[in-house]
């Protein structure tokens, strides 16, 4: 009897990349449906140009277009490369679908469709295919597309009145009215269609953690960093209650949670070892807060994570081993960095608003 030989092992564990991509796909679809519904329910200003249904339909349209364009770009590229036969297997379709959906979810509902199409093409082609496709890219193609959209079509997709922007104004003394309930279920003007209910995102987060799509260490560290930094800024600038509200808004609105679920721990563009994962998450978290507080942009997650992606190859190529000593060192340095940064930002902000300190704190009283 002759045998065919392979290399061991003869068995693998239950984890499969395909399964992870599929789980991500399921999560995204659930989220997409929820965001369409939410857009339909969000109250609009009296003079709004579009009705709720219009916006909901627009959101749906954007996602459909995002997916179709993303898949088409990949298929055409494969045809031009003569590798179209790889699309015969079903699993090849999942990643393009995920990319398309994510891009659409990350853009505001005011985005013109042509802007979406161009952004998806740029993201998928320049962000993914040029590097060799899934598994080889350095920058998360989704973020490349979103960044491109913001830089090129920023004017057409202006967003006003998101909670984070209101917060920025609040520190200058204007009044803010937000209700905790609306914030939790996502009933407010959002920077992107996908920035929906934080409760739903949290459920998705748990699901993806259980199915191991998300690396818990990255996401939790990232959330924790944002939490601590905003707590620090709030501590320096507001009374206790103001501090809590400031932190809360930073945590549950904007793309904070969306980033934690879908963007920071996207495996291909994040580092591969324990220490670097933590360092990466801390850097991204700090950058998010820096951009939110100091720049004119409404949201910092996209830029911050792209910057983190930029550092990833560097981190991957400098780390030598994962030792307990290294882990402790990373954690200690991270904590020190967080404290210093939150202090620094806190005081920078304070010099601008010192006279408004008391009033601001009073204004926030309305939320809880």
């Amino acid at each position: 009897m002759n045998f065919t030989t392979t290399k061991p092992p003869v068995k693998y564990n239950q984890q499969r990349s395909l399964k992870r991509a599929l789980n991500l796909n399921i999560a995204l679809i659930v989220l997409a449906i929820a965001s369409v519904i939410l857009r339909a329910l969000t109250p609009l200003a009296e003079d709004a140009a579009m009705t709720n249904l219009d916006i909901a339909f627009k959101a749906f349209l954007m996602m459909a277009v995002g997916v179709i364009v993303s898949v088409m770009v990949e298929v055409f590229y494969a045809i031009s490369e003569g590798t179209i036969q790889k699309f015969e297997v079903y699993k090849r379709w999942i990643d393009p679908i995920n990319t398309g959906l994510l891009i659409a979810l990350l853009l505001p509902s005011t985005t013109p469709i042509y802007a979406l199409v161009i952004s998806v093409i740029v993201g998928v082609y320049a962000g993914k295919l040029v590097f060799g496709g899934y598994g080889y890219y350095i920058f998360n193609p989704v973020l490349v597309a979103v960044l491109f959209a913001h830089l090129t079509f920023g004017g057409q997709m202006d967003i006003t009145g998101t909670p984070l922007l209101l917060m920025k104004e609040a520190v200058f003394g204007s009044s803010v009215e937000l209700s905790l309930q609306s914030l939790l279920i996502g009933n407010y003007t959002a920077v992107a269609i996908g920035s929906t209910s934080v409760l739903l995102l949290f459920a998705v987060f748990v699901y993806l953690c259980v199915t191991k799509v998300i690396d818990l260490r990255i996401s939790i560290t990232y959330l924790l960093t944002i939490f601590l930094v905003s707590l620090g800024i709030g501590f320096i600038n507001f009374t206790t209650q103001g501090m809590l509200i400031y932190t809360l808004v930073n945590m549950i609105t904007g793309l904070t949670m969306f980033g934690a679920v879908f963007l920071v721990s996207e495996s291909v563009s994040s580092p591969t070892s324990r220490e670097t994962k933590i360092a990466y998450a801390v850097i991204v978290g700090i950058l998010v807060m820096l951009i939110r507080v100091l720049s004119a942009e409404p949201e910092g997650v996209v830029f911050a994570i792209l910057f983190g992606n930029l550092l990833t190859p560097f981190m991957n190529r400098t780390v030598k081993r994962s030792q307990t000593k290294g882990l402790i060192k990373t954690v200690v340095i991270s904590i020190v960095a967080i404290v210093i940064v939150s202090g620094a930002i806190g005081f920078i902000v304070q010099s601008r608003i010192i006279e408004n300190l008391n009033e601001t704190a009073a204004l926030f009283g309305g939320i809880l």
Partner: protein
Amino acid sequence: MITENKTYLDPRKVYLPITDEDARVASLQVAEEDEVKVGQIIAKKYRGKEAIPVIATVSGKVLGVEQRIDRFGKVIDHVIIENDRKNTLEAFDTFDGEVPTQIIRNQLLRLGIHQVSLDGLYTDIRFDQPIEHLMVDAIYTNEPFISLDYDCIVKEAEEITDGILLLAKACKAKTVTLLVDKFMNQEALDEIGKAISDTIIELEVINSKKMNGVDYKIARKLINRRPSINLLDDGIMFTTVFVARSAYQVIRQGLPLTTRKVALTGDAFVTNALYDVRIGTLFEYLVEDLGGYTDEEALSCHIGNFLSGNQVESDAFSIAAHIDSIDVSRYRDVEEDVCIKCGDCNDICPTDILPQNIMDAELRSVNERIVELHTDDCIECGLCTYVCPSKINVLEWVRRAKRRVG
């Protein structure tokens, strides 16, 4: 799943390899047509200056020497003995009570306990380096979610314990650790617990469903630093309860090691069984006894630990003392996906090195980086490949990297 216990103790002929991976030179001690007894020395193999006896496992007539493949697929000399089925035993001394270290060592070597457990981290039974710690594995695993044989432990807890203590005496170990399974049945646990109370043997309970290189971690805890690929170099002897039981038989009963347990698993067999088999039996005989293969096409045969064992091209090998399990399954071609950089392989590695990064460095052919990543420390446990969701053979990449930097 193992469903049966079987025996195959009287093959027509036995084929005994007279050299091995470490001892490549041997001198024959018998001639053709000689009558031999069970336990008689038929050859001596040399590792350096040390002569290791190879003993007959049946009594009968020596038919000659033949070149055959062994479990690693290497062609080596085998002595063939025709079994006269009389089982005439050469007389060996037995010892009671306290036995001096040197006598235990001599007896173990003389009666065939030398290289009995080979897979994974198990070490040979040899005493040329100082040993401080003895680890004995009571977990019988060949696949995850697992085939376990605890009957032997229940029945022979006393003997096993005595064997462990004899081994400890032989290597002058300061600590003795017995690794047992968390999912072991209560009866076995009770028996073993009763037997080892009042001895220096410490229990270490392991979750055998988690594949995470726990034996390596225990060894690491014992010596407080990272052990090397050969635990003997670190003063640790790591072996199985099977060896302990055999040591008991050698010293207390004067019985040489002539049989062993082999698990035959895999979907190419009608049933899977745990065999008590005469060492030197051809694998073909066992297959025949088990009812042959269900399928004649595209099978693969894996010997030893499912993570780090090896595969052979033909079933013409004979059961050597160090074969504890054989899996014959339908050949599955696993399709590799791209690395999604999830880092699972980096997390699982018991030696704390970063296989994904090593793979990356190997792909880019940067020798310096490979050295810097401590590629040398890899103990080839195969866990990185096991956990990879893309089913990439990460260990092969690490091996390639190792070879590149020499």
